[in-house]
Symmetry: C2
Subunit: 255 residues, 2 copies
């Protein structure tokens, strides 16, 4: 029942593909083909060195890659073993999400509102300022190929001495918010919830209230670890789906 495998089992030293990539592919394919099943022990590093004529460092690098990928687990003194697939090792990328507003040709950001108001209890807590402090409030609508796909609300700390905010208010493209224009943001916390559209959201997104949607909340911090931005994106579920695979599948990582 095994499919005919055109799998190389030696390292081609003349190939432009690095040896460590070739070896990683070989091992991954063997695992995928069932040569090594979950729980099985891989050949020792010394054996792999001899079998494929590579140095210990190269084998080590390959093993490290597979460990990082969650394909195998290496235990000192015992050996390297194939990991069974676990849901918990799966992860979902936000790349598809970011693409919603960084496809420069097809994406457009419309600034709905921007004004200064005083922070209420919740906003003040999120931004770590005193309630009543002035904050900048921004609402944006993101279009993809003419259709509204994302609704964004954001609160920014207002500090006359901090030029960031003034520049921020001019930003009509969210791309600049994250992707390096401002070197002000150091890190952020993100969370995803499921929610249903409110009347306001539904109207803007040309959907109907009660429709299922993702809510992606964010807090961004500056280099002094002070929050500078709190907000969230609303995206109807039918316009975004997170996909991934688990187990031995998928191509090479950056290494």
């Amino acid at each position: 029942m095994t499919l005919g495998a055109k799998v190389a089992d030696t390292i081609d030293r003349d190939s432009y593909i690095p040896a460590y990539v070739q070896l990683a592919d070989i091992l991954r394919q063997q695992i995928a083909a069932g040569v090594f099943k979950p729980g099985d022990q891989l050949p020792s590093e010394a054996q792999l060195c001899r079998r494929y004529n590579v140095s210990p460092m190269t084998v080590r690098r390959v093993i490290n890659m597979l460990v990082d990928e969650g394909v195998v687990v290496a235990i000192q003194g015992r050996g390297t073993f194939v990991k069974p697939i676990e849901l918990g090792t799966a992860f979902f990328s936000l790349q598809d999400f970011q693409n919603l507003f960084t496809n420069q040709e097809e994406s457009r950001v419309k600034l709905l509102e921007t004004r200064i108001l005083t922070a209420d209890q919740r906003t003040a807590q999120k931004l770590a300022v005193e309630p009543g402090r002035r904050v900048v409030f921004i609402r944006r609508l993101i279009f993809q190929t003419g259709q509204p796909v994302l609704y964004h609300k954001e609160y920014l700390v207002y500090d006359p001495y901090r030029p960031l905010i003034e520049a921020e208010m001019e930003v009509t493209s969210l791309y600049g918010l994250f992707s390096g224009k401002g070197t002000n943001l150091k890190w952020g916390e993100l969370s995803i919830e499921a929610t249903v559209l409110t009347e306001e959201e539904a109207e803007l997104l040309k959907s109907s209230a009660g429709t299922a949607a993702f809510r992606l909340e964010h807090i961004f911090y500056d280099f002094e670890d002070h929050p500078v931005s709190w907000g969230w994106f609303i995206c109807p579920s039918n316009r975004l789906r997170f996909r991934t695979t688990v187990g031995v599948r998928g191509k090479e990582r950056t290494g």
Copy 2:
């Protein structure tokens, strides 16, 4: 405004912490502190070798780690540069999700129904069998500390020659489905949507219809790349939230 930093800037060779971890921490902290800001070029590998008295391979390993983490980008012939934070580089782990039913002490799985039926059009397509083929249908409810948190529906290909299924039907703990008991599953495709609870789901989950929920769909394949399981989990949003961080934050990875 910079906080007093108790950051080491040399490698302690007597420490039990590996040199490559120490160096990675040093660079990460310098980036986090703003010594190197997004877009800045890091010292060359040769400079790092001299500065910290480590071999080129060790420096290379550190750079590779930071590249994998998405903290820096290395460009051949030009240098290594600090990456601005990008939403697209963030990823969400399913670990919290798996914990919902693998905390053995607090989790309980109740088998609601298990029966054999014939595949309808959609099921047949997902499982890559002919419509009308017999499949196993299973419904489960997962409790956490006595409260229902997950509702699971699953279709399995029915094959008398394949012992997996028979064993599967006995499984009351989903843990065995994924975590290695059966070495039958090779890989799976997962996707997450936002949805709202149906009447049936709401009743079982002791919630109300129309409540926001996550829907995690899965297809698992065997070593011949044939689908063996298609199904989905329903989890009310108030019982699960996906969190992550983006940018320079977070501890060491397995390396």
